[in-house]
Subunit: 453 residues, 2 copies
């Protein structure tokens, strides 16, 4: 399909192309056109019917949108933006340079311009920034028939007609009515009798991640957004909520891997941008490893006396690091999903303590057996004369460091949340650096006291 | 609210309790009742209206569902399951022990039982396993008015009426019509003229994660599921798609942190289950660290000659590990989101190579400067007589290991995908183990050749 369309574009067979495209889904058209040559874009874009063109436009990547905007005439631009929903319009404008934004705003009506500016003013991660203003508002005194009439009137401009909002004086939100309620009730039923007053709603300034989590929790299709005086100002639709959930999961994953989050897909991110998102944490963590180096240096003499101790440094550091990142990542995800909050700190620590004890015991016992059977008897890795004391040192270190690592791993993300920092940065790389230092200190101190070196 | 309801239960004030509960959202009721005493559950459950009771039931955790099923009479059980949608029914039955399932199935009609057994037979992660069979099917010869009549007839049993499905002979899927299309077109319009034939659909055996990704990609509310002969057999609704997306993100995150995934929330998972999900990888990674130990042992003599080399082992291993996990995690997430596929392997390697070169150069140069300025001049960490050669060794090692780590980190998840393994297990802990060995080998070999030890 993709090849066929691209070759129709190259061959300038626009009649045939149009027949194919009008049957297609806007997402697919946008994806295919991204592969076409940039110079062909305007002419292909112009053969699409207005409504479809606007939809395709909203799925383009920012650079293509900007290119097209520059090529379209003022009238064409107006047509596209007239068809777009308010949330898509705002999303696009947020990414454009000032002169492009200015040109687009010039093509809109004064009323729409005012609304756009209003929406652009909401903080970046707020519910207000992802909501749209096209929805069906009804009055509680309306009958089902009145409501359906109103949907027929304004439905085309509404992003969803699945859920309608019943408002009172000063646009205060009173309840919701679904289209199912309307179709399944008698035509003369009054909305006040069938509307659901247990409305789940969000405030304009609520964090968009929390808002998106409400869709997951309550299985809703759209969420009304109200201002501080409970006046309905917009709705968030489920497709935008999914985008937020996916973005936030990606962001968490990136932060956990010591990457500064970006909001573009893999191949859309340039080498330079990828580099810039990775190097800060790499540098920071590299430099903070100076401390582990300093710890080793301070025990250097003792290590020279008993060099076999060096053998186990990587194993001890890694096992503790893995143990710590397991608990930190578990807690970070639970915080993101809203399963755990700051007030649960004692329950979390109590649970992690028990898990940590069992994990530490198992690891330390397995290590003990492994060192006797495998390292000593098979590989003969270390001096037979001293091996029992060494095995005890390594196993004890393992017990204490895994235990400490797991508790630190669980507490740090909770503390970050409490201090309004992002818990996700407290994941593996950060924990590893702390845990490495802990592991070395514990190891050397146990070694000194047990082995008397 | 929660306290008020719980105390009303304790005080047996059921009249007042009922008034409160009927106004509430089923999700919230379920969450509050989970905090109540188990013995009070049946009586509270019985005061809810039938439809609401069934909804609340579907939001309970499995252990509470099982407890209630055992307490309810056959008639009550039948009432609950009559109200439930097919996908929720199947979800519940999948978690129940055989005798409970048997008792529930006994209360359903022969037809429904057949359907349930059919749905239970789909593989665990397939589209078939998450679809429901309650949807609106229409014929293309119907008028808009006919369609609305049919929705009024069967709408109550349908999970969504937002999107309706137009089917032909043998239930073959021909197109979709949204409720918006129906309300905004003339009553005598024939569905064939307004239906959208560019239907996005899934096959019953498609992976549920891929199906859920379609909701994100196409911004749809429901997805028709067809069998191998394009016959419509069910639909997946957006709420279930969100659940799948969230579960898969959590699973990926857990696997990346070397945890076996579980599908329960943090506090619902017992200490024993949490332990079992964490210990296998910890053990495996601990034992595989034997190799890093063996590498160090084989260079032990040389390390005794120049113990300052030991100081930099943790920094080298960690920095390479972090670099590798950055690229592996980025590629894993891109694979999950469908941004990258196996056929992109060369583009991925090419991009990562360029990022790796820049990162390696910057890290190695910064390290060079840092070792001269900080370690040598301020802390005086190592022997001044030999320091320049050592600095060169460490910086060169850093360059090569970060480079190798990043490339290995990018390739392994792609290979895993190609071999139909889960790319997520190729994340940080696994990469770290490989990269540690690489770092040590590179380090010691460069040290031997540059320092002539």
């Amino acid at each position: 399909m993709q090849e066929q369309i691209l070759s129709l574009i190259v061959d300038r067979k626009f009649q045939k192309l149009k027949q194919l495209l009008v049957e297609m889904n806007p997402t697919d058209i946008a994806l295919i056109l991204e592969e076409a040559e940039e110079k062909d874009l305007p002419v292909v874009f112009r053969i699409l019917p207005k409504e479809q063109a606007a939809e395709v436009f909203s799925y383009f990547e920012t650079d293509m949108q900007q290119f097209l905007i520059e090529k379209l005439s003022d009238t064409e631009l107006k047509e596209v933006f007239d068809e777009l929903f308010m949330d898509d319009t705002v999303d696009i404008l947020e990414e454009m340079p000032a002169n492009v934004t200015k040109r687009i705003l010039k093509q809109t009506t004064a009323e729409k311009r005012k609304m756009i500016n209003h929406l652009l003013a909401y903080p970046e991660d707020s519910a207000g920034s992802i909501m749209t203003t096209e929805y069906i508002d009804l009055k509680k005194t309306m009958t089902v028939d009145d409501a359906i009439d109103r949907i027929r009137q304004i439905g085309l401009q509404s992003e969803t007609i699945d859920t309608c909002y019943v408002i009172g004086a000063h646009r205060r939100l009173l309840g919701v009515v679904t289209i199912k309620d309307l179709l399944l009730n008698q035509k003369d039923t009054i909305l006040a009798d069938i509307m659901d007053e247990a409305v789940i709603s969000a405030n304009t300034l609520d964090d968009k991640e929390e808002v998106a989590n409400l869709f997951d929790k309550y299985d809703i299709m759209a969420l009304p957004v109200v201002d501080t005086e409970n006046r309905l100002v917009g709705i968030v639709t489920v497709d935008d909520a999914i985008d937020v959930l996916q973005e936030e999961a990606t962001e968490d994953i990136e932060k956990m891997a010591a990457i500064l989050p970006s909001d573009k897909s893999y191949f859309k991110t340039s080498v330079w941008t990828t580099f810039k998102s990775r190097i800060p944490w790499l540098l920071l963590l590299m430099i903070s490893a100076t401390f582990t180096g300093a710890i080793i240096t301070s025990f250097e003499e003792k290590l020279t006396v008993l060099p076999a101790l060096i053998t186990f440094i990587p194993m001890l550091m890694n096992t503790a690091g893995n143990g710590g990142s397991q608990s930190s990542v578990t807690v970070i995800r639970a915080l993101s999903l809203g399963d755990v909050e700051w007030r649960d700190i004692f329950r979390v620590v109590w649970k992690e303590t028990r898990v940590a004890i069992v994990c530490s015991i198992v690891l330390s016992v397995v290590n003990f057996i492994k060192m006797i059977l495998v390292d000593h008897m098979i590989f003969n890795t270390f001096d037979a004369g001293k091996y029992m004391a060494e095995i005890v040192v390594v196993s004890l270190t393992l017990f204490f460091t895994v235990f400490i690592a797991k508790i630190v791993g669980a507490i740090l993300p909770m503390l970050a949340k409490k201090c309004k920092l992002d818990p996700a940065v407290m994941a593996s790389p950060f924990i590893t650096t702390i845990v490495d230092a802990v592991a070395l200190i514990v190891y050397f101190n146990i070694a000194v006291s047990v082995l008397k070196i």
